[in-house]
C-alpha cells in the first residue's frame, strides 16, 4: 500500500472541496435538476444564482443529503460520497444556513448554540447536567473570532435578525462545518449588516472555510463571490470567475440566455411632482407591548394622492405591526389614523375596505389567499355581498365567472381553470391574483407589504408595472418592503422605520442608499 495515501490528505492539495457531477432529479413530470455539475474549490466563495424555481433549492437539498439525486454523484474532498441523510452531510462538514433561521425562538441564544451537542459537567446520558460555563466560553470565543457581539442570554425571538444569523453560523462552525452553504443570506439584512456579513464570510474563507452562497442579487454576487454558477430551468447555464465576468452577462444567462442584458437596477421613471391631497394621515400611532411583536412608538406620516410612499426598514422593526394597524387587524392604544377625511382608528377591516382601502399582505399564503380555494373564489372574495356577484340571497354563478375572468385578464394572471386551487399557481401568479382582487374595487389607497417576496424576475417586473400604473391612474400606495432596490425604484417618497418609529424621510430624488441604510440600523432593534 502506498504510504502517501494512508496519510491524512493535505487540505491544500484537494482540488474540489464540494462538487456535484451530472446530478439529475425529477419530481413527477418536472425536471428540477438536469445534468447539473458544479465544483467548489477549497477556500472559495462560490455563488449560485438563478431565478426562483430554477432548481437552486433542489440542488441545495441534494448537497445537504435531504434528497437523493436520481442519478449523478456528490464529491467531497475529491472523493465520491453518498449523502444518505442530513446527518451524513453534517458529519462530512457540510452545514447550511437556511432562509428560515433554525433557532428555537423561545430558547436563549446560548441554549440554541449548544442544542444537540451540549458540554456536560458529568456524563449521565440524557440526564447529564449541562456545563453552561463551558458553553458560554465556547460561544464567546467563536463570537470573538468572528468579531460579533452577542448577548447569549437573550431569547432568539428577541434578537435582531443579523445576530440570529451570526449565531447560526457560529453554531455550524462549532460543530465542525468546513463547507458552509447560505441560502439567500442577505434577504433580511440592512445594507450595513450585509457588509458585516460579507466581512465575516470573507474572513471565514481566509481561514479555510469553503462557502456556497445562493442569491439572486447580482450586486452581492459581484461584491462577494470568487466564482459564480448560473442555473436556469434546472440546468447549469454558465460558470465563471467573478473577476472575468460582469453583472450584465450573468443576468443575461439568468433570464434568457441571449447575451447580456442591461442591468437596470433602478430605472427612475418619470414621477409626478409631489402633489395631491393627503389621503391617509397617521398621527402618534402607538401599540401596546405584546408578545411576538414589535410595539410602535408614535408613528407619524401621511400618504398623498397619486404617490407611492416606500417604507424601508430592517425586518422586525414594527413594519408588520404598522401595516396591521392601518388595515384594521391590530388593536391600537394611542394616536389616530385618518383616511378619506374620516377617523378610521377604530374601524374594522371591512369598514376600511368600504372606504376604499386595498391590502396586499406580506403573508400571501395565509392572509392574502386561501390557497386551497379556487382561483375564482379568491379573486371574487370581498365582492360577494353586492351585485352583480350577488343576486337576491344567492350568487349569480354566471356573473361571478364573468367578473372573475375580467379581473384576472385585467392584470394578466396566468391560470389553468377558474376552479383550480390558488395554491397551484406559481408564486408570481399568486401575487398577481391578489392584486387582481385588490385593485378591482378601485381603491384610493393600496397598502402593499413585501409584494415581490418569492416571486421570479418576470413576475417582479409585472408587479412593479401594476404598481406604477395604479399610481398613474391617481391611486396612492404605501409600499412596505425589505428589498431596498424595490423601494428605490418605485417610490416617490421614502420613509425609514426603525424600532417602531419613522426615523427618517427622503424624497426619491435625493435618496442616498448609504444614508437610508444608516437610518435603518441607527436605532435598530437593540442592535447587539
Amino acid at each position: 500500500m502506498n504510504v502517501e495515501n494512508a496519510l491524512p490528505e493535505d487540505p491544500k492539495k484537494v482540488s474540489v472541496r464540494l462538487g456535484a457531477e451530472g446530478i439529475c432529479k425529477r419530481y413527477g413530470s418536472v425536471e428540477a435538476n438536469r445534468d447539473v455539475s458544479i465544483a467548489v474549490a477549497p477556500g472559495e466563495i462560490h455563488a449560485i444564482v438563478g431565478e426562483n424555481g430554477a432548481g437552486k433549492s433542489t440542488l441545495m437539498r441534494i448537497l445537504q443529503g435531504i434528497e437523493q439525486p436520481d442519478s449523478g454523484r456528490i464529491v467531497v474532498d475529491d472523493r465520491p460520497v453518498e449523502l444518505t441523510g442530513p446527518q451524513r452531510a453534517f458529519a462530512l462538514g457540510i452545514g447550511m444556513v437556511h432562509q428560515e433561521f433554525m433557532l428555537a425562538p423561545d430558547l436563549t441564544l446560548l441554549e440554541n448554540l449548544v442544542l444537540g451537542d451540549e458540554p456536560v459537567t458529568r456524563t449521565l446520558g440524557p440526564a447529564s447536567p449541562i456545563d453552561w460555563r463551558a458553553a458560554l466560553e465556547s460561544g464567546e470565543r467563536l463570537a470573538r473570532e468572528t468579531a460579533a457581539h452577542v448577548d447569549w442570554s437573550r431569547t432568539a425571538r428577541n434578537t435582531p435578525v443579523h445576530i440570529q444569523q451570526f449565531v447560526e453560523i457560529i453554531r455550524l462552525l462549532r460543530r465542525g462545518t468546513r463547507i458552509l452553504i447560505l441560502d439567500e443570506p442577505t434577504a433580511v439584512l440592512a445594507p450595513q449588516q450585509v457588509d458585516d456579513l460579507f466581512e465575516l464570510l470573507k474572513s471565514l474563507r481566509d481561514n479555510g472555510t469553503t462557502i456556497l452562497f445562493i442569491s439572486h442579487k447580482l450586486r452581492e454576487v459581484m461584491a462577494l463571490a470568487d466564482r459564480v454558477t448560473v442555473i436556469r430551468r434546472g440546468e447549469v447555464q454558465y460558470c465563471s470567475l467573478v473577476a472575468d465576468t460582469d453583472a450584465g452577462t450573468i443576468a443575461g444567462h439568468m433570464v434568457g440566455g441571449q447575451g447580456a442584458l442591461p442591468v437596470a437596477a433602478a430605472t427612475p421613471e418619470t414621477r409626478h411632482g409631489v402633489s395631491g391631497d393627503v389621503v391617509m394621515e397617521v398621527r402618534g400611532l402607538t401599540t401596546p407591548v405584546v408578545e411576538k411583536s414589535h410595539p410602535l412608538h408614535g408613528v407619524d406620516f401621511n400618504v398623498r394622492a397619486g404617490e407611492i410612499v416606500g417604507l424601508a426598514g430592517v425586518s422586525g422593526n414594527g413594519q408588520n405591526e404598522l401595516v396591521e394597524c392601518l388595515v384594521g387587524l391590530r388593536a391600537v392604544d394611542g394616536g389616530t389614523v385618518s383616511f378619506a377625511g374620516q377617523d378610521i382608528t377604530h374601524l374594522s377591516n371591512r369598514q376600511r375596505r368600504t372606504l376604499g382601502m386595498g391590502y396586499v399582505s406580506a403573508d400571501r399564503r395565509h392572509e392574502g389567499l386561501a390557497l386551497e380555494a379556487s382561483v375564482e373564489a379568491n379573486v371574487i372574495a370581498g365582492s360577494q355581498r353586492k351585485p352583480p356577484v350577488r343576486k337576491g340571497s344567492f350568487f349569480d354563478r354566471g356573473a361571478m365567472r364573468r367578473v372573475a375572468e375580467e379581473r384576472l385578464a385585467f392584470i394578466g394572471v396566468r391560470y389553468g381553470g377558474l376552479g383550480d386551487a390558488a395554491g397551484d399557481l406559481s408564486g408570481g401568479n399568486q401575487q398577481r391574483l391578489v392584486f387582481a382582487r385588490e385593485i378591482a374595487s378601485k381603491p384610493g389607497l393600496l397598502i402593499v407589504s413585501q409584494p415581490t417576496r418569492g416571486v421570479d424576475l418576470v413576475g417582479i417586473a409585472a408587479i412593479h408595472g401594476i404598481l406604477s400604473e395604479f399610481r398613474a391612474s391617481g391611486g396612492s400606495v404605501l409600499l412596505v418592503s425589505e428589498e431596498l432596490d424595490e423601494i428605490l425604484s418605485l417610490s416617490d417618497r421614502i420613509l425609514v422605520m426603525a424600532d417602531g418609529a419613522i426615523v427618517g424621510e427622503t424624497s426619491a430624488a435625493d435618496a442616498d442608499i448609504g444614508r437610508i441604510g444608516r437610518l435603518m440600523v441607527m436605532q435598530g432593534a437593540g442592535d447587539g
Binding site: 433557532l103 440554541n112 440524557p126 453552561w132 405584546v290 377604530h346 374594522s348
Partner: protein, 299 residues
C-alpha cells in the same frame, strides 16, 4: 378546628392533581397536549390497590402504579408520534378505552361492578410523629403528610432546575418550541416526545396511587372524578411553569376541600360538588382572555 382540617384536606386533595399536572406540563413543554392524564390516573389507582393488596407494601404499589402509567403513556405516545394520530382524538379514545378496560377487568376477574375492595391494602404511611399535630394551624396537615405529597412538592421545586439544566430538559423544551430546529440539530423529536409522554404517564400513575392509597384504600370507577382534566387546566393556567402550576393546583385542592366541608354543612352536595369544575372553566376563560390580550387582536 375547621381551619386546620381545611388546610390538611386541601394539601391532601392537591397532591394527585399536582402530580398529574407536573407530568402534563413537561409533556406540553415537549409539544404534546396530553388530555389522557385522567386515564393514566385511573389505571394507576387500579394497579396500586391490586399491588398493595397482593404485596402488602405501599412502596411496590406506588412504583407499580407509576410504571403502569408510564407504559400506557409510552404506548399512547407511539400512536401519536409514529402513527401520526391526532393527539386530542387519541387522548379522548384512551380515556374511554382505559375506563372500559378497567370496568371489564373488574367485572371479569373480581366479579364486581364499579368498586374494588381487596383485603390487606396498605395505605401510604404517615411518617411524622403524632406530636406534630399540636402545632397550631398546620399541625394536622403535617401529621397527615405521606411520602407522595412530599415527593410531589420536591418535584415542583426540582423541575424548573431539571428543565433548564439537563440535556433532556433542553431537548424537551426545544422539541416543543421548534420541532424542526430540534430535528435539524440531530435530536429525535419523536423519542423526546415519547419520553415526555411516558414521564406524564409516570406522574399521573403516582397521582392515581395517591387517590387510592392516601386514605380510602379501595378502587372505584369514578375515583378520579375528572382530576386529570383539572390538572390539564392547572398547567394551562400556570403556563407550563412548575411553581405557578403548583399554586393553581393548590387553589383547586382548596376548593375541593371547602366544597366537601360545605356539603357536610347541609348544602346540596351535587351542586356544591361542581364548584371546582366551575372554577376550572373560569380559570380557562381567564387564561384565554389573557392570551388574547397578549396578542392584541383588533376587534
Amino acid at each position: 378546628m375547621i381551619i386546620d382540617q381545611v388546610i390538611a384536606a386541601s394539601l391532601t386533595l392537591t397532591t394527585p392533581i399536582l402530580l398529574a399536572a407536573m407530568g402534563g406540563l413537561v409533556n406540553r413543554q415537549g409539544g404534546i397536549v396530553n388530555i389522557a392524564l385522567d386515564a393514566k390516573m385511573l389505571a394507576g389507582a387500579f394497579v396500586a390497590v391490586i399491588v398493595s393488596s397482593m404485596t402488602g407494601g405501599w412502596f411496590f404499589a406506588v412504583v407499580a402504579a407509576a410504571v403502569a402509567g408510564a407504559v400506557i403513556g409510552y404506548l399512547f405516545s407511539l400512536v401519536i408520534t409514529r402513527a401520526n394520530a391526532n393527539m386530542i382524538v387519541a387522548g379522548l379514545g384512551l380515556n374511554v378505552l382505559v375506563a372500559g378496560l378497567i370496568g371489564f377487568v373488574l367485572n371479569w376477574v373480581y366479579d364486581s361492578s364499579g368498586t374494588l375492595r381487596l383485603p390487606d391494602v396498605q395505605l401510604l404511611p404517615k411518617f411524622l410523629p403524632d406530636s406534630v399535630s399540636s402545632i397550631p394551624l398546620f399541625g394536622l396537615a403535617l401529621s397527615e403528610l405521606e411520602p407522595l405529597t412530599v415527593f410531589a412538592w420536591l418535584t415542583v421545586f426540582a423541575l424548573p432546575f431539571l428543565l433548564a439544566n439537563t440535556r433532556i430538559g433542553l431537548w424537551v423544551r426545544a422539541t416543543g418550541n421548534a420541532p424542526q430546529v430540534a430535528r435539524a440539530m440531530g435530536i429525535s423529536g419523536r423519542n423526546v416526545q415519547d419520553f415526555s409522554t411516558a414521564f406524564a404517564g409516570f406522574f399521573s400513575g403516582l397521582g392515581g396511587a395517591h387517590l387510592a392509597l392516601a386514605s380510602i384504600g379501595l378502587f372505584n370507577e369514578g375515583l378520579t372524578a375528572g382530576r386529570g382534566f383539572i390538572a390539564l387546566a392547572a398547567f394551562y393556567f400556570g403556563r407550563d411553569r412548575p411553581i405557578a402550576t403548583a399554586l393553581v393546583c393548590l387553589l383547586f385542592g382548596f376548593l375541593d376541600a371547602t366544597q366537601i366541608r360545605m356539603q357536610t354543612a347541609g348544602l346540596p352536595p351535587k351542586l356544591i360538588g361542581t364548584i371546582p369544575y366551575l372554577m376550572v372553566l373560569v380559570a380557562l376563560c381567564i387564561a384565554g382572555w389573557r392570551n388574547h390580550r397578549r396578542k392584541a387582536v383588533a376587534p
